[in-house]
């Protein structure tokens, strides 16, 4: 998973995770609540510039990532844009299907466009966090924010186990295909069934083994670990604050 790799090999890795978290979440909230196309576009552009130039994420990879949600967003917002139209003269576009006039009006178009940009802006904020901050750091920020310990431990264990899961699934898949397990549709369905059921059994066993290994090192119900130390930069925090406040101004003035 390249997106996970970037989290560890980007040039913002040594920036304090709290700064990154603060930036991503505040910007995300403003993007959602200010509800303005200009602001959403500003946010998308700024995030892209930071990620590509500051964090060193390859532009073509980042573009591909951005394209993933686009198809969902199009489908989602299209349903908002198209409506049943009563006054045909107001419509920008109009079809007649089964005696219904279906089309886009100016207001529905603007609404769809706003929602599209808003969602896109929010996604870019989350990408910012995902591409610059390793999971371990996100968990440590949430711990500082006093999230429940159980939730955090589940989060870190699940994250670690996903990779083991993918690895095992890959191996089973390879061993099945080398015996023609995915030759034809019937075989494929059967093999997929076996794969899923053995994954369940294996993950149960893995979980058991993991617990034993934790116990052997004195686990008593809490995953105590050393957290990496970062330095907070006042300059960067000031920059983030100035940026967020100017976003608010922009949003309110309009």
């Amino acid at each position: 998973m390249l997106i996970d790799k970037y989290a560890y090999y980007n040039r913002l890795l040594n920036v304090h995770p709290i700064e990154k978290f603060l930036y991503a979440i505040l910007t995300l909230l403003l993007c959602l609540f200010l509800n303005s196309a200009t602001i959403s576009i500003t946010i998308i552009i700024l995030n892209s510039v930071i990620l590509v130039y500051k964090a060193g994420i390859k532009a073509d990879f980042y573009l591909k990532l951005l394209l993933i949600p686009v198809s969902f967003l199009f489908i989602g917002t299209a349903t908002i844009a198209f409506n049943v139209i009563t006054h045909q003269e107001k419509a920008l576009l109009c079809f007649n299907i089964f005696n219904f006039n279906i089309g886009i009006t100016q207001s529905s178009f603007i609404q769809a466009q706003n929602i599209f940009l808003k969602a896109f802006g929010s996604v870019s904020c989350l990408y910012f966090l995902a591409l610059t901050t390793p999971m371990v750091d996100i968990v440590s920020v949430l711990r500082k924010l006093k999230f429940p310990e159980l939730f955090l431990e589940l989060m870190s264990l699940v994250y670690r186990l996903i990779f083991i899961f993918i690895k095992i699934a890959g191996r089973i898949h390879t061993s099945q295909s080398s015996r023609l397990g995915y030759y034809g549709i019937k075989n494929s369905f059967k093999s997929m069934g076996y794969l899923i059921s053995s994954l369940f059994l294996l993950s149960y066993k893995k979980a058991d083994d993991l617990y034993t290994a934790l116990e052997a090192r004195g686990y008593t119900g809490k995953l105590n670990v050393l957290e990496k130390q970062y330095k907070l930069s006042k300059k960067r925090i000031a920059f983030i604050m100035v940026f967020e406040i100017s976003l608010i101004f922009l949003g309110v003035i309009k």
């Binding site: 670690r160 934790l214 686990y219 008593t220 990496k228």
Partner: protein, 285 residues
Amino acid sequence: MTEYILETKDLIFKYTNDRVLNEISVKIEKGKKTVFLGENGAGKSTLFLHFNGILKPNKGKVFFKGEEVKYDQTSLMKLRKSVGIVFQDPDTQLFSASVTQEVSFGPMNLGFPKEKVEEYVEYALGATGTSFLRDKPTHFLSYGQKKRVTIASIIAMEPEVIIFDEPTNYLDPKHKIQIMDFLTELNKNGTTIILSTHDVDRAYSWADNIFVMKNGNILKEGSPEEIFADSKVLNSTNLTSPMILDIYEELKSKGYIDLQKPFPRNKTELFECIADNAYAVRSKL
């Protein structure tokens, strides 16, 4: 007097109804290198889990430093600080996505202050040659690297005994040698080492003491020479005799060996036996 660090007495352990361990009584000498040999399913791993209190015997006792092991929280914590286990599959042992966090888990559980934990982590990473992996996520590591990180995570607790369940499995020859050399080094610094393996050559040249297990029983205990001289035990557990020993016996029967020398434990010693004999023969001519 020899000092025994771990001891079991008539230990019985059952999974459901089958006895996995059948009245096992072993004594592990302090500061020595002990090897457990035996086929898969002989009960080695199950026995190991008794050594640091993960499993509780159905019957019989476990002793650490002459004291009977108790199974309350405080005693277990003390035992687990002193006896560490490195499991066979590093993927099941590594729970954290960060190498540093993984290694810090043990010492943090022991309740050390942060500075001390950092010191221990630093030491363990250095000793296993994994300092450069410090900030790497565990899922990007190679198998050999993961193995070394799991060892580091145990060393960080500074245990007196470290148990290795088949430590050289799946490793390439270079890393096998590295790991075994590292274990020798650890042992020289005073750590008692217990390990299980299927590699008879390595067991023969490395161990101070060997236990052979079969179907939950201890078949034989002794020095490598004693164990591998007993063809009955070897046959019943499907162990082969070490290559060095085979060559030695063959050459001895043909009269090419200087019998004054002790049994060779490794290649160098075997070569010495042959060379000395050749020298003696030549000087006679």
